[in-house]
């Protein structure tokens, strides 16, 4: 009797230790950044970052848009690939969906289906160019990004259409006290984590990213794995686009580039511990990386930083954050 209780106690202890050890180190960094800016906020602004729950909530809501697409980016980066076209997939989604909806609730399903198909096609094309034409992923997605940019700017110059009231639920709705958007983000992170850790596809993706040649020789269909990762990434970009358009009520071509989703999703993923060379990483880490950007964004607003100065800081932070990971690597960058 006594021995069993001791056993469970030690088991509990181990379980606790294991969970603690499972927390990616980036979360400690997140806490440090938050505390640092909360102190700055107390000293130089009204100090509402800690006292006002709305601002806390705001940090998270701001992180939803970046967070969703960063999950997809994590997938392709684990596969040692990269996706720079997410920016314009987000733009196209926002414009196309609001253009099709035209404020009519009955057209919502149609619009959603169209943009998901569009996103999947972009992902498929990206994947095919990378795997079948053997183009470096960075160049391939830069190319598709330019093509999308040209097409969208040739067709739309300004806000196009609008979304119906019912669709605003995605951006503004709440279940009880919790915004739907936050639940969506958490659900997607959980699904992403499940796919990576518990499914065959997930372990294949790590294999492909870790060593493509070994993965191929051990019988994996490496091309197919990468193509699926790219399709998933584009679909997360579509989800981000839908979320953003539901927040601002109409789509415009500059929504994607204005949010710098390409660079920031990559930076958040790297900060979250995904290796730039692939094969390592997880979506929980990425979530922390995204929240760090959310904290910075909110803190800059609180402190009244000039919006242009904010961009200067963002650029510097991205480079320095990535540098803190790369500077120790033995391999030269190019």
């Amino acid at each position: 009797m006594a021995t069993t209780s001791i056993k469970t106690a030690s088991n509990n202890h181990n379980w606790f230790k294991k969970t603690i050890r499972k927390i990616p180190p980036v979360y400690y960094f997140l806490v440090i950044v938050f505390v640092l800016f909360a102190i700055l906020d107390q000293l130089f602004a009204d100090g509402q970052m800690v006292s006002n729950p709305n601002i806390m909530m705001n940090i998270i809501i701001r992180s939803v848009a970046l967070g969703i697409v960063a999950i997809g980016q994590t997938f392709v980066m684990i596969g040692a690939s990269i996706d720079l076209s997410v920016t314009y997939v987000i733009s196209i989604t926002s414009v196309m969906s609001s253009y099709i909806m035209q404020g009519d609730p009955t057209k919502v399903p149609m619009a959603v289906i169209v943009v998901f198909i569009l996103g999947a096609v972009v992902g498929l094309v990206n994947g095919l160019i990378i795997t079948k034409l053997h183009v470096n992923s960075f160049i391939a997605t830069l190319g598709t990004s330019l093509i999308l940019k040209g097409m969208i700017n040739a067709s739309f110059a300004n806000f196009a259409g609008e979304i119906p009231r019912s669709f605003e639920l995605l951006g503004y709705g709440k279940i009880g006290p919790i915004p739907i958007s936050i639940l969506l983000l958490i659900a997607l992170v959980a699904v992403g984590s499940f796919i990576l850790e518990r499914t065959k596809f997930g372990s294949h993706l790590y294999g492909v990213g870790g060593n493509m040649e070994v993965a191929r020789l051990s019988g994996l269909r490496t091309d197919r794995v990468l193509i699926i990762a790219h399709i998933l990434c584009s679909i997360t970009a579509v989800l981000t686009g839908l979320f953003v358009v539901s927040r601002i009520r109409a789509g415009a071509p500059w929504i994607g580039p204005d949010g710098v989703y390409d660079l920031e999703s990559i930076a958040a993923t790297v900060i979250g511990g995904t290796a730039l060379s692939g094969g390592r990483g997880d979506v929980w880490g990425t979530l922390a990386g995204v929240l760090i950007f959310g904290v910075l964004d909110t803190a800059f607003n609180q402190l009244g930083v000039n919006p242009y100065l904010k961009n200067i800081l963002r650029g510097a932070i991205v480079v320095l954050a990535v540098a803190s990971y790369t500077v120790r690597s033995k391999k030269d960058a190019s």
Binding site: A140, I152, N153, V319, A323
Partner: protein, 334 residues
Amino acid sequence: MTKKEKNLNTNNKTFFIRVLQSLKRISPVYLIFVVIYAIVGYLNPNYRTFDGIFQFLRRSSPTVILAIGQMFVLVTGGFDLSVGSLISLVLFGSSILLGNDPANLGKTLAIIMGIGVLVGLINGSAVSYLKVPSFITTLGMLLLVKGAALYWVGGAPKGYFTENFRMFGRGYIENLPIVGRFPISLIVMLVIAIISYIIFHKTNFGKSVLAIGDNVRTSRLSGVNVRLVRLMTYVISSAFAVVSGVLIGGFGGISQTAGTGAEMQAISAAVLGGTALTGGKGSIPDTIFGALTLEAMFNLLNLLGLPKPYRDAIQGIIIVGAVAYGALSRRKDR
């Protein structure tokens, strides 16, 4: 075919085949350029006159200079995506530094060149010493430099350029025999082209740049200071971007969007000129004609009445197409 037979074949090669083979080594970009320019000249007789040709060359000179600078970075296997923002910074900054007083020209040029070199040094150090991949570094710098440009002018560019500043871009040397008048920007372009040709094709530095792009390890083992050489290529790219920006200011004047997207034009031009995006291959004359071909394409799009955004799409197709062509033909060689 056995080795013996192969040898026999090469010995029996006729003069005609040899000429054909040496022709094969000439980049196809020259043929593409001639064809496109011929179509442009056919559609618009203006392009057939001396003055029309000079106009075309004058308008192309910023792209040519930018492409040459970009090529130095591309050959090492990197990218410089910050040049577009740097052009914005040059234009916005000059409008303030000039202060509508022609006497400030010397000071202005010195300061903006200093800024350009500084940006290049930051890019190069981050890539060389912090080992941040160049596309992350220069995308971050794109954000940072653009933010700095807007911060400097407080949101929108003010003032105008003095005549002596605009002279570089739109001035002519008048009353010349035969050709009539000769654009100053074309002289700038030729000087830059000749200097870069000597640097890239005739000096040890140029050979080191090529060697790094081909194989970092072997070039380091053979005594190349990889980090310093790489750093220098980013400084060259930034410095040329400054020159290009001054020329653009000469004929375009100042606008909010000046410089946006210039980095993609530079990359497309270099790729059209046969520069390998994986590094290790490039040529100054080919790159110059790559830039001229791109500009001729843009002129053609204009003449055909297609909206400007399609330029982006064309660039995307060029980049992906050229890289895929290179990758596939290399695989065939194996």
